[in-house]
């Protein structure tokens, strides 16, 4: 429909609108509030509740404003007597079927039915009240997270639509008809048993009454005793907005923030329910110092800090070696202060964090080819993509909210080329699923590039005008043998060819990738090959196309931006670049190390050799998350002095000399930077569990002051103001304006955020095509280790489980680790579902239960690393590291499986 400008008059106000606007939309632009029960922006319009009716001059019948389009010269009244009476009738009808009691309802104060009844004077006494009917109003079988009281349900159907349209699931549906219509599940089973519910909680979020509620929140508090604060979800890198409801010092419930530009109200199970950890009695509240008997003893913060300070002095006197691990879970301010402390007070560049074992190959690979190491495009660009190339990402589990947006686009007609050795929920949406052999990504990518060059599908404009190293690169590709590469991947040549053509020919193709690409010792090569492919086809630096590493943790992007990486100063400046070094040493008033220090795996390696004297770990749990767990424990034991700063006594903290209690995300102010480079405000919701507790940055700041620094920070804003100076990519971000402005890094010369990178020109000028020699395939099965074990993640759990496993409901859904095996292999090994098996690698062994599934190919196994009961990283090693990024082989490990 061609858009035309039309003018209508609503309640006497002239409004200029487009002809495809509804009356509801036009009214909202003039700030006229029209009540609505079944309507929510971002869900399809059904027009069923009829409470949004308005009077249109010249029409006898009232029209629903959610679905009636404006016309030129339309005169509309949203609150005439006729309208208000009609609304009252609607409410009276609904109330006649509403059997709940507001006096004891959790939703009172937030309930729209209650609000509108008040607004329009509906008392529920106009009609005869319906009788309780066990089929219609009775409870469904129980589940552990979501409470569904059908006596309160007004059948607006929003929950059904959110389930279907937001998360692409069909857990809920209308059943039966007429008066007996109700919201139910398939065969009235419980949500846990119906096989569709993923407990994302979005149905609760859209429910206008209290029919759907968080089970654990019931009876814990309601308006006006609760306060709601908007902040950012502390789980994955998507950075969904959350609205935390708290009463006193307890978090009651968490809902998606409808105003969040990232998620528009959507959350996954972790974001909706994974917050029991904040108020957990297991939280650390007092600093602990290991006494001479080797026992941990409670102390107060200042004593602990003085103790550490004395130790620092002692090690400094002995010329000992310092090292520190920052945290992708902490705020930008925490990370900035941490690395500043390490570099300017302890004068060491041995500072790193877990990005090393997740996206460090992206940092090295994308920096060398494009000049910036981050997603090239904002998440919203998904809506403009024609062909998705998803490689090495189990995104429905790890980045659910982004995956749902992608699936929505696929349902609109976009193509999906999925490259994953294992079937995932995304497979059913894939135009092509290339189920390649694990770790053969580079062979596939080079094969694709060879096909592109053979068939002349490359974008010569892009190559000639915006790239360098083109001829050399093409010469190298020409030398490769296509058959050999395709054979290595285990794929069909026709499939690879078709996928290549789809990617190269589709208008807007875009790449999304994650750990499946990076967690190899040739991770940088993989990333560079991806960049090469995007450049070769011109699918980058032009509109919505690009190459997008999906970052794993809430602030892993920010931690990297802040320079919590070896050799990297804030804003991706180099320690060994003289000008950068000088500028920051002037800003910080201290000399900085001039040489690149040790990376995470190297620190641990040296520590295990007894070469590290002081290790400061802030908010990380390397014992579970890092390769070769046993060697990490050895490293911690061998290090003279270990400080762990965390919210729990983690597996890592158990080996510390001093443990400092930190505040959680809900107890601090600051900023997180999400995967799309969006800097978002984190707001304090509650006070820390003990008065003696400090934010991470404040602990280090105080320690630095004790060590003689003179930093003077009164609040997080002071730290942020300094970040703006230290990291030019953040210079345009005003910490006082987060409420009304979106901020991405970098900024342009006008101080506006740059949402898409590399438009017009690449960050490094011309993009560079780089050829990494194809590595010898490292994952060749041997008689002693005949299986390839892929290590990944579950939708329900996060990372090492320290947070998600504290929520009972989530823990009930996924309470133990499994290794997944193809039935073909299982039959050969006489393994049945739930049998205990032993996984053995050349590095260690674990025991866990086995599950049969067709999702993994024969010869492959799959497990996760969330569980301390079976630490998958006992199997991995860090003997060989990626030359550029120092990544270890954490994604795939060769193992044997033995039935116990």
């Amino acid at each position: 429909m061609e858009k035309e400008l039309v003018v209508c008059k609503i309640d006497g106000i002239e409004i200029f609108c487009e002809n495809d606007w509804t009356i509801m939309k036009a009214a909202q632009t003039a700030n006229i509030q029209v009540p609505a029960l079944c309507y929510t922006p971002d869900l399809s319009v059904v027009g069923s509740c009829r409470i949004c009716v308005v009077e249109i001059e010249g029409e006898t019948i009232l029209q629903p404003s959610c679905s009636t389009l404006v016309k030129n010269n339309m005169v509309i009244y949203t609150h005439s007597e006729k309208v208000n009476y009609a609304r009252k009738i609607v409410l009276e009808m609904i109330l006649s079927q509403h059997l709940a009691d507001c006096l004891v309802c959790d939703a009172s104060g937030e309930c729209l039915l209650e609000k509108y009844s008040y607004d329009f004077g509906a008392t529920g006494k106009m009609f005869q009240k319906a009788q309780f009917n066990p089929i219609k109003h009775g409870d469904l079988p129980d589940n552990s997270l979501i409470k569904f009281e059908r006596t309160k349900c007004i059948l607006c159907g929003k929950c059904i639509r959110a389930c279907n349209e937001w998360t692409h699931k069909d857990a809920l549906s209308f059943v039966d008809k007429g008066e007996m219509m109700r919201v139910s599940t398939l065969y009235d089973r419980s949500l846990e048993d119906n096989g569709e519910c993923i407990f994302c909680g979005n149905c609760i979020n859209v429910c206008p009454t209290g029919a759907l509620w968080e089970k654990e929140a019931a009876g814990k508090g309601r308006f006006p005793d609760i306060r709601k604060i908007k902040t950012i979800c502390p789980y994955c890198g998507v950075g969904c907005g959350i609205e935390v409801s708290a009463k006193g010092n307890s978090i009651i419930k968490v809902r998606g923030d409808m105003d969040s530009p990232v998620s528009k109200g959507r959350l996954c199970i972790k974001g909706s329910f994974g917050f029991d950890f904040v108020n957990s009695p297991q939280r650390l509240v007092k600093p602990l110092i290991r006494n001479s008997k080797g026992e941990l003893e409670e102390t107060n913060m200042i004593d602990a800090l003085i103790y550490i300070k004395n130790k620092i002095d002692e090690i400094k006197r002995n010329n000992g070696i310092f090292a520190g691990l920052a945290s992708a879970r902490c705020t930008n301010e925490d990370n900035y202060i941490f690395q500043k402390f390490m570099r300017s007070v302890l004068h060491t560049d041995n500072v790193d964090h877990c990005a090393r074992i997740c996206h460090s190959p992206s940092v090295s690979g994308l920096n060398m080819t494009l000049g910036h190491a981050a997603m090239t495009n904002p998440i919203e660009d998904i809506d403009a993509i024609d062909c998705f190339f998803v490689i090495g990402s189990n995104m429905t589990s790890t980045h659910p909210v982004i995956s749902w947006r992608m699936i929505r686009r696929i349902k609109e007609g976009a193509l999906l080329i999925l490259v994953d050795p294992k079937k995932s929920p995304l497979s059913k949406y894939a135009t092509m699923h290339l189920q390649l052999n694990p770790g053969t990504d580079m062979a596939l990518l080079y094969a694709m590039m060879k096909i592109i060059i053979d068939e002349g599908m490359q974008d010569t404009d892009m190559l000639n005008s915006r790239c360098e190293g083109v001829d050399e690169f093409i010469a190298e590709i020409n030398k490769l043998n296509l058959d050999d590469m395709i054979q290595q991947t285990g794929l069909d040549e026709g499939d690879v060819r078709l996928a290549t053509r789809l990617f190269a020919i589709s208008g807007a193709s875009s790449m999304y990738y994650a750990m499946g690409v990076t967690q190899h010792v040739f991770g940088t090569g993989n990333v560079v090959a991806l960049a090469d492919l995007a450049l070769l086809c011109g699918k980058i630096g032009q509109g919505p196309t690009g190459i997008n590493p999906l970052r794993g943790q809430n602030n892993v992007q920010g931690a990297c931006d802040m320079g919590a990486l070896t050799g990297v100063l804030p804003g991706y400046r180099s320690v060994d670049n003289k000008a950068d070094n000088k500028e920051l040493s002037e800003l910080w008033g201290a000399d900085l190390p001039e040489k690149k220090g040790l990376t995470l795996n190297e620190i641990m390696h040296e520590a295990a050799e007894g070469n590290i004297d002081f290790l400061y770990i802030m908010g990380e749990n390397p014992v579970l998350s890092d390769p070769d767990s046993n060697s990490i424990i050895k490293a911690l034991e061998k290090t003279d002095f270990v400080v762990v700063q965390d919210i729990f006594l983690t597996e890592t903290a158990a080996y510390a000399d001093v443990i400092l209690p930190a505040t959680s995300f809900a107890e601090k102010d600051g900023t997180f930077t999400n995967t799309e480079r969006r800097v978002q405000r984190v707001r304090k919701v509650i006070d820390p569990p003990s008065k003696d507790m400090l934010d991470d940055y404040q602990i280090i700041y105080r320690l630095a002051e004790l060590c003689g620094a003179n930093w003077k920070y009164n609040s997080w804003i002071d730290v942020f103001e300094e970040i703006r100076k230290a990291a030019p990519i953040y210079s345009h971000i005003d910490p006082n304006k987060f409420d009304d402005k979106e901020f991405f890094w970098p900024g342009d010369i006008l101080g506006d955020s740059v949402k898409r990178l590399h438009q017009g020109e690449f960050s490094r000028g011309r993009a560079k095509l780089i050829y990494f020699p194809l590595p010898e395939y490292p994952y060749k099965a041997t008689p002693s280790f005949p299986f390839l074990l892929i290590i990944g993640r579950l939708y329900e759990h996060y990372h090492t489980g320290t947070m998600t496993r504290k929520t009972k409901g989530i823990e009930k859904l996924q309470s133990e680790p499994f290794v997944y095996i193809n039935p073909k292999d299982a039959i050969k090994l006489h393994i049945k579902d739930n049998d205990f098996v032993k996984l053995i690698s050349d590095n260690g062994e674990i025991e866990l239960k086995c599950k049969l599934t067709l999702d993994v190919k024969p010869g492959n196994l799959y497990t996760t690393f969330h569980f301390h009961e079976a630490v998958a990283n006992k199997l991995t090693n860090k003997r060989i590291l990626d030359a550029q990024s120092k990544m270890a082989a954490m994604k795939v490990v060769m193992v044997n499986i033995i039935r116990k």
């Binding site: 059904v46 679905s67 009738i89 059948l155 008809k177």
Partner: protein, 580 residues
């Protein structure tokens, strides 16, 4: 040469046509000069089972042919050549004359064997399609437009315009849907057409497909019509075999495939958007319009959806020309309309009349008046969406505008005739109960509004009504009418509004006097035995609860505490000694 045809539509089968057929089969076994075949419903359902006998070119139509009568006809007429006049309905050399009817849609029903495509072709079938394929799409649409054909599903929208909208939607894929989800109580027009002349519907769909540029069609048929579905399947298979359905039809570039989708018993799926949702495998619930199906219909593709009767008219219009059709009828309502006569009428069955015929002609002329010569009270037209037309308006011409003016609707064509023994409040309650149960439950007014209206009506029929109930009913009915999402809710109050309009005194009698004038509402009637009782004991024997006592030849008495008001005594008494 003798040809025997047995009407084996659902109405015939229900009356025992299969047994008649079997009987005739055994009787004629081995006689090569007698052929036996099946045909559809000829419309005279009150006389089923019906057989047609063709002897030397003369046709005899027999009614009430059970096994005994079949044998009788075989022996007396076929063998002895003596027609049995008391069973004979009609006799003709070529076509039966159906007084006051004009058969276009029903022209083949009861005439041809619906299971043999050659018979359809022999009577000029698929000529309309052939003709259509020789002219342009625009010309086809212009013909349909000029014919003045309006949608026979109920709303009466111009079929030609509907097709034009679908044609003007630009898309590489379009659909034609035939709505055969006939759900109104008392309506069976579509079933008879599908059972008696399935090819006419297929032909209409294909002409439509050609005109709008669609190459795929769906017939959405209610699963309660197994015979119609079987005949449709058979017809499609035969047409495919003949190359009439499929690729390059009649040597043209036009291709068309037809699928059948069986409904799952929801009345609301007769609503076009709900119907499309149901084909898509979703829960059948009406969607918002716009977008209209012509723009975004089945699987979001432009879709034209017409009712069975509409499509069955199209072939005739194409072969006979627009003029032949628009000559018939009134200024705004052209052509003929099929009605299903049911209720308290003598000649129940299907009739096809020209638009504009007075209601009286249909009910008293063709229908033969009221059963048992009782007093005509009203006719309920248009099913649960329609309304009651009182006896005083019996001269109303049957066309869209005139019927709508009375408050009822032409609808799909159900006519339920009510006599003096029908309580109008109870009739309204019956239909509202139907729509309430069949409401999909999506929008507030239809889901809850109908329930509240039903409660008030029930209250009135139980004698618990109050004076204000009538006003609140009217108020609520108008709200539901104005504010419901789809046609089901928007028309659900019609039975209430029309009965209040024409029979308000009955409502008042229920509320004020606590009396049901028609003696239907159980709570409001008491059975009493008057002095006319001669003590025959018939009522005593008939009473299921032993509420009647009395000795032979003496006055009987009813114990009101035991009486369940079943009316068995009332119906049994031959001396009109029982009053209610």
């Amino acid at each position: 040469m003798v040809k025997i045809k047995v009407g084996t539509a659902t109405c015939g089968n229900a009356a025992g046509a299969q047994k008649t057929l079997e009987k005739l089969e055994t009787l004629i076994q081995g006689q090569s000069d007698i052929s036996l075949s099946q045909t559809g419903c000829i419309g005279l359902c009150y006389r089923e089972p019906i057989i047609e006998l063709e002897i030397n070119g003369t046709k005899f139509l027999y009614g009430d042919v059970d096994e005994t009568n079949a044998e009788k006809i075989y022996k007396t007429h076929i063998k002895d050549n003596k027609p049995i006049t008391e069973l004979l309905i009609n006799q003709s050399n070529q076509h039966y004359s159906f007084e006051k009817q004009n058969r276009i849609v029903l022209k083949n029903a009861g005439v041809i064997n619906p299971e043999i495509i050659e018979e359809y072709i022999a009577v000029g079938g698929y000529e309309g399609l052939k003709k259509a394929l020789q002219i342009t799409k625009e010309e086809v649409i212009a013909t349909v437009k000029d014919s003045g054909l309006r949608g026979r599903g109920g709303a009466g929208f111009s079929t030609g315009m509907k097709w034009e909208f679908a044609k003007n939607s630009v898309n590489d894929k379009k659909y034609v849907i035939c709505n055969a989800d006939e759900g109104d109580p008392g309506a069976f027009m579509d079933r008879s057409v599908l059972e008696g002349d399935p090819h006419s519907v297929i032909e209409g769909m294909m002409i439509c497909g050609y005109a709008i540029g669609a190459n795929e069609g769906y017939i959405y048929c209610r699963a309660e019509y197994p015979l119609a579905i079987a005949r449709l399947k058979n017809a499609i298979a035969q047409a495919e075999k003949k190359g009439i359905v499929g690729k390059n039809i009649f040597g043209s570039t036009f291709c068309f495939d037809i699928h059948i989708k069986e409904g799952a018993g929801a009345f609301v799926c007769g609503e076009e958007t709900a119907l499309m949702g149901s084909i898509e495998g979703k829960r059948g619930m009406p969607r918002l319009r716009p977008p209209f199906p012509a723009v975004s219909g089945l699987w979001a593709k432009p879709t034209n959806i017409n009712n069975v009767e509409t499509l069955a008219s199209v072939g005739w219009i194409l072969s006979n020309g627009a003029c032949a059709y628009n000559k018939i009828g009134t200024e705004k309502s052209k052509g003929t309309k099929v009605f299903a006569l049911a209720g308290k009428i003598k000649n129940g069955g299907l009739v096809e009349v020209e638009m504009g015929i007075p209601l009286k002609e249909v009910i008293f002329g063709i229908g033969g008046g009221i059963k048992n010569d009782k007093k005509f009270k009203a006719v309920q037209m248009g099913g649960p969406s329609g309304g009651c037309i009182p006896a005083s308006l019996i001269d109303t011409p049957v066309d869209y505008e005139s019927i709508t003016a009375t408050g009822a609707i032409v609808g799909s064509g159900g006519m339920v005739v009510l006599d003096e023994d029908s309580c109008m409040v109870d009739v309204a309650r019956y239909f509202v109960n139907f729509t309430q149960t069949e409401s999909c439950g999506k929008c507030t007014f239809c889901r809850i509004g109908t329930k509240r209206m039903l409660e008030i009506l029930t209250r009135i029929t139980e004698g618990k009504g109050v004076e204000e109930d009538i006003d609140s009913l009217i108020d609520l009915a108008n709200k539901v009418k104005d504010s419901s999402l789809c046609g089901l809710g928007q028309t659900a109050p019609n039975p209430i509004l029309t009965t209040i309009k024409y029979f308000k005194d009955e409502y008042i009698a229920h509320i004020r006097d606590k009396k049901c004038p028609a003696g239907v509402c159980k709570e409001l009637i008491t059975f009493n035995i008057t002095d006319a009782c001669i003590g025959c004991t018939a009522c005593k024997k008939a009473c299921p609860t032993k509420a009647i006592s009395g000795e032979v030849k003496k006055l009987h008495v009813i114990d009101q505490s035991l009486c369940v008001k079943c009316g068995a005594c009332y119906n049994t008494c031959k001396f009109k000694a029982i009053t209610k």
